[in-house]
């Protein structure tokens, strides 16, 4: 009923699909930076889509299990092993009592999401099991994991057929391995789009931006062509959301991620669309990223299409399991 964190790695935290309903109090959405990836991993192990899993940044994680569990993960190009067997992204694997699960460093990408059958059974705080690292609450003691932590796992009835090894079936490649060597993020225009002149706007789509090492779960800081606004005057603070590309007076854009503040006063130049947030969550220092514009209707169409496919996948997986 528990998992022992033998090595916590660079930054590993308990995350679910985040906190909604509390932005009015300044509480961030938080949760897995790639909620879709966590939902897929949860389905693969037979959990509820919203069960809490682990978000693993840059690997170096080693877990030991005290009972049999099914595990699956989605994310960057990590080397993941159960004992000495490789567990590829998007496949379900069984881990026996006493066995170890290891995440090496990713060749491409930055983060991955691990689901364990039964889920990580920490107490919900403000209706979520997510760790709010900035405000230090939720998840496991409101902090990232440390060597030696012992995480409680939820009840799991065991697999109906004795699980052996690693499943042959898997989820679509784009869902389980969203990291790309040359990522392109699709965006829609932000409310302050017209506050930039046309040559500045062309820079956003025409040139590549480098990911700054000063990036975290709150946002990805981008270096590259300066994006200066025509009028440098102050704006009234309004809501921001994961995906918002805001441009501070420095002209260096920041792409906000799940732990971003609830409000901000910088110009909102653009917003990365929801279906591409999983790609954004894979950006790591030094990566070069490009942007391409789509319409709001297209963003909605892509989201709906993915959700329909996800629905079919859910049906398929339930058939596999029964």
């Amino acid at each position: 009923m528990k998992v022992i964190v033998e090595r916590a790695g660079f930054l590993t935290s308990v995350q679910d699909l985040g906190r909604t309903g509390f932005r009015e109090f300044g509480v961030s959405l938080g949760g897995a930076l790639d909620c879709f990836g966590l939902r897929v991993a949860n389905l693969l192990v037979g959990n509820d889509e919203g069960a809490a899993g682990l978000e693993i940044t840059l690997g170096a994680l080693q877990l030991r299990f005290d009972d049999e569990r099914i595990v699956a993960w989605c994310g960057g190009d990590f080397d993941v092993r159960i004992g000495s067997r490789v567990l590829p992204a998007g496949h379900a694997g069984s881990v026996g009592a006493g066995e170890k699960l290891k995440f090496g460093a990713p060749k491409v990408g930055c983060r991955s999401w691990l689901s364990i059958s039964g889920g990580i059974d920490v107490e919900p705080v403000i209706e979520s099991r997510s760790t709010d690292l900035r405000a230090s609450f939720g998840g496991f003691e409101g902090r990232s994991l440390r060597d030696g932590d012992v995480l409680p796992l939820g009840m799991w009835p065991g697999s109906p057929t004795p699980a052996t090894g690693i499943s042959s079936w898997t989820a679509p490649h784009d869902w389980v391995s969203p990291a790309k060597p040359k990522p392109i993020l699709r965006f829609i225009r932000g409310v302050d789009w017209n506050g930039f002149n046309s040559s500045t706007l062309q820079r956003l789509t025409g040139e590549a931006f480098a990911v700054s090492p000063d990036s975290d779960r709150m946002g990805v800081r981008l270096e590259g062509p300066e994006l200066k606004r025509l009028d440098e005057g102050d704006l009234i603070s309004e809501a921001v959301a994961p995906g918002t590309i805001q441009v501070p007076p420095s002209g260096k854009p920041i792409l906000l991620l799940g732990d971003c503040q609830t409000v901000g006063g910088y110009p909102k130049m653009a917003h990365v669309i929801t279906v591409d947030l999983g790609v954004a969550a894979q950006l790591r220092a030094g990566d070069r990223v490009r942007f391409s514009e789509v319409s709001l209707a297209e963003a909605h169409r892509l989201l709906l299409e993915r959700e329909r496919e996800f629905g079919r996948f859910r049906v398929g997986i339930n058939i596999q399991r029964s």
Partner: protein
């Protein structure tokens, strides 16, 4: 004036007014009325609604909206129509009940303006060409309103700072500000609920806990609240902290700092 603009593909900002500072009271009342109306309207697919200064933001799940037989290309227009209707209905009713809206609370916040907590009070005083004692008098005599909660959970941005006390943010933000610190940033005052970095000028500290994730609601203040600061002595400050700690111990609640 009402303007509805997309905030990405899963939220829209409903701007109720263009400016805030020229009429903060009226703006907040308008925004909070819209906030309430939008919450009550329970528009299908809407997940949450949150106010900030001049606007209310409506977060929604595009998939639920589309499942309600709206074509993907129509999501924004469909939602905007629903939002306009909900806010308009509220405005009509508001005319009949003037004293209305929701009850606005008046919250008193004890603040110790002791030198040890008021690291920047001399800067604020110098700028205003008054004494630090007068800074305290001005700050604790005014009535404020919470314009927005944000930055970190439970952080209130308070409008209504006497003009004399307006002080630009510090050039170099502090890396760590102790919880409860009361500060001035530009024309606003606010309270840091959590240990966090920050650039506001610190003039005092409250023993109150402004954010507590174990409580419902987790924040002590909400947008629209009226706030007054009352000056307390260092002894009172220490006593309140002690009292809070012991009652917490009695309840057996554990806090991670």
């Amino acid at each position: 004036m009402m303007e509805i603009v997309p905030l990405g593909d899963s939220a829209v900002i409903v701007r109720m007014r263009e400016r805030f500072d020229d009429a903060p009271e009226e703006t907040l009342d308008t925004v909070l009325r819209a906030f309430q109306q939008l919450q009550n309207a329970a528009i299908p697919g809407v997940i949450e609604v949150a106010p900030a200064y001049t606007s209310v933001t409506v977060f929604f799940d595009p998939i639920s909206v589309v499942k309600g037989t709206v074509a993907p290309g129509q999501v924004f227009d469909w939602l905007a129509t629903r939002i306009r209707a909900a806010v308009a209905a509220g405005a009509d009713r508001g005319r009949h009940r003037i004293a209305t809206q929701r009850r606005v609370r008046l919250v008193e916040i004890p603040v110790c303006y002791d030198r040890e907590f008021a690291l920047d009070i001399d800067d604020v005083a110098r700028r205003a060409a008054i004494s630090p004692v007068e800074v305290v008098r001005f700050h604790s005599a005014a009535e404020y309103r919470v314009a927005c909660i944000g930055f970190v959970p439970g952080f209130p941005f308070l409008a209504g700072l006497p003009k004399e006390l307006a002080t630009p943010r510090r050039d170099v933000p502090r890396k760590q500000i102790p919880p409860g610190s009361v500060g001035i940033g530009g024309a606003q005052t606010g309270i840091y609920p959590l240990r966090s970095p920050g650039g506001w000028n610190l003039i005092g500290r409250t023993p109150l806990k402004l954010f507590d994730p174990t409580k419902d609601p987790p924040a002590f203040l909400r947008a629209g609240d009226r706030v007054r600061f009352c000056a307390i002595t260092r002894e009172d400050f220490e006593a309140s902290i002690h009292e809070a700690l012991s009652s917490r111990a009695k309840r057996g609640t554990s806090y991670s700092k």
